[in-house]
């Protein structure tokens, strides 16, 4: 007579040992990171506005910086003498001229005596000039992100095909493709942008390459994983008709992985838009370059406008990505 088997246990002593070990390691790491002080500061920051705790220097500093962002800067005001070929009869739409008189103490070169001098300056005022400029730079940022994503797709597809077990039986080639993917995403975009700006100069080109190279590593691995997770039986069935590997992939695997491919690509596009603003800080084009300049000049009203533009763009792209992703799932 055979023994009646028992229901398998969900947790064994090994699981428990791993959990205890992980908890000890996390506790040691938290002490090294001084997480206790961070938690205390966070609690103070949350409770200070309610009056339950006294404000700390950190919360006051953060509050002060945020307060300086308002009012945001929408208009643009330029001295007409700094505008090349300025024609007062042909002003841009909604623009108008403003004249100011400023009295300054200046040294007379003839008499070498300081005297009060009235200087008249004519300004070209565009009520939404700065908002328009930010919109243009935001568009350039989106273009950098878009081209970075296209570069990533082009680089990642061959790596994914070579790195997926069902399509590449040779472990050496597969491991090499996987290692290249890992190497590509090893360095953050900001770091590679620093080197690429040095090599290719300031501008969007360096940004596109920095985003494309990093994202290719992520997409290559994600695409390869999706191919490996797909049902392999249709692939074997199509290969059994005598089709070559590429045709079998197109007919049996691509329809299965289309939805995860689209999903990962939209995630990268969304991520690239946010990262494109960061790589601009080191001169790789886009809104980041403008943001860095305004921070350096302490023009926090301009910084506020840029931050709002980034927020609106990311939220809009997020909505578009969700819609397209749903459509992709519906079509798959």
């Amino acid at each position: 007579m055979t023994m009646r088997p028992a229901y398998p246990r969900a947790l064994g002593w090994r699981h428990l040992a791993v959990l205890v070990m992980a908890a000890l390691l996390l506790a040691a790491s938290a002490a090294r990171m001084d997480l206790g002080r961070l938690a205390q500061q966070m609690v103070t920051a949350v409770l200070a506005p309610t009056g339950l705790a006294a404000g700390s220097p950190e919360t006051r500093a953060l509050g002060g910086m945020i307060a300086q962002l308002a009012p945001i800067q929408l208009s643009d005001r330029r001295d007409v003498t700094s505008i090349a070929d300025f024609d007062p009869d042909r002003l841009p739409p909604f623009a108008y001229l403003e004249t100011t008189t400023e009295t300054r103490l200046e040294l007379d070169p003839d008499t070498l005596v300081h005297a009060q001098v009235a200087r008249r300056t004519t300004w070209l005022v565009q009520p939404f000039g700065y908002a328009w400029q930010v919109a243009g730079e935001m568009l350039e940022t989106i273009e950098i992100a878009l081209w970075g994503t296209i570069v990533a797709i082009i680089l990642s597809l061959p790596l994914a095909l070579l790195g997926a077990r069902p399509l590449m039986p040779q472990p050496i080639v597969r491991n090499a493709a996987r290692s290249i993917c890992a190497a590509l995403r090893a360095f953050p975009e900001l770091l590679s942008a620093l080197f690429l700006v040095a090599a290719f100069g300031f501008g969007p080109g360096a940004g596109i390459l920095a985003l494309g190279i990093h994202a290719a590593g992520y997409l290559g691995r994600t695409f390869a994983d999706a191919i490996e997770d797909a049902d392999q039986r249709p692939l074997q069935a199509v290969q059994a008709t005598g089709a070559n590997g590429l045709v079998a992939f197109r007919m049996a695997v691509l329809p299965q992985v289309k939805a995860p491919f689209v999903s990962a690509t939209f995630y990268i596009l969304d991520r690239n838009v946010r990262t494109a603003t960061v790589v601009g800080l080191v001169g790789a084009g886009g809104i980041g370059q403008e943001l860095k300049g305004r921070i350096d000049l302490f023009e926090y009203g301009h910084v506020g406008t840029i931050l709002i533009a980034i927020l609106i763009t990311v939220l809009l792209l997020d909505r578009i990505a969700i819609r397209l992703r749903h459509r992709g799932h519906a079509d798959a």
Binding site: D231, R233, P234, A237, V238, T241, G242, A243, L246
Partner: protein, 242 residues
């Protein structure tokens, strides 16, 4: 296509034997049913005949040519296979699944771009209709079809390449008896009209006797009966009259 197998054996990856010393000969244009309980070795035998697995010992000859790596590329487009678990692309419609059965015969650039030749598109639709599937199923993901409908799509895909040999692993397992008869009638008609050889694993002895010219019975990886369908007498209680 004529099939010959001699001393054919296959071991599972763990070393246990799936098939032992199988010898068989199926004449060209015959309808051969392979009967046996679950685990008897029917699927393993079909995999060996279709070149999906390599035998541990023995050999298979198709039209006098030994099935091996050197001949597989030539022979594969001549073999149609209905897989037990359908092996369909669940996200694609019936049309895309059926046309994939001719993947080896469609020019590479057309297969990659999806611009299939007119003959292939026409034949895919003809087979879809012949299988009694409605027009909407052409593009609807096959995951939304019933098990029986999916099985018919799998059969249509196997027929797509006008095979000389059809290997069907329980092609009517998910179908009610009436639909099963329709499908087997279709296979029988195709076999008679085109002269293709059909090797069909079945669970129902009554269907085997009604449709097959030849029956092979497997038990624990060995052939226990091989002969004309008329000579086969199922054990008491096995199968109903077709």
């Amino acid at each position: 296509m004529q099939i010959e197998a001699a001393d054919l054996s296959l071991n599972h990856p763990d070393g246990t034997p799936a098939l032992r010393d199988i010898g068989l000969r199926i004449a060209s244009g015959q309808f051969c049913a392979v009967l046996g309980m679950s685990g008897a070795g029917k699927t393993s035998l079909l995999h060996l005949l279709g070149g999906l697995r390599t035998p541990s010992a023995g050999m298979v000859r198709l039209d006098g040519r030994e099935l091996c790596d050197a001949t597989l590329a030539d022979l594969r487009p001549r073999i149609g296979q209905v897989h037990q678990a359908f092996a369909l692309v669940r996200q694609s419609g019936s049309a895309a699944n059926i046309i994939a059965g001719a993947a080896g015969q469609i020019p590479c650039w057309r297969a990659l771009t999806g611009l299939y030749p007119a003959w292939a598109r026409q034949r895919a639709v003809d087979l879809h209709v012949a299988m009694g599937l409605d027009a909407a199923a052409l593009t609807r993901p096959v995951s939304t079809l019933s098990g029986g409908q999916q099985q018919r799509v799998a059969i249509a895909r196997a027929m797509m390449g006008r095979p000389d040999l059809l290997l069907a692993d329980e092609p009517v397992a998910s179908l009610d008896r009436e639909t099963a008869r329709t499908v087997l009638d279709f296979l029988k008609t195709q076999q008679r009209e085109t002269g293709m050889t059909v090797v069909c694993a079945l669970h129902q002895p009554d269907f085997a006797r009604a449709y097959a010219d030849q029956i092979i019975v497997l038990d624990s990886g060995r052939v226990t009966f091989a002969g004309a369908a008329a000579a086969y007498r199922p054990a008491a209680g096995q199968g109903a009259a077709a």
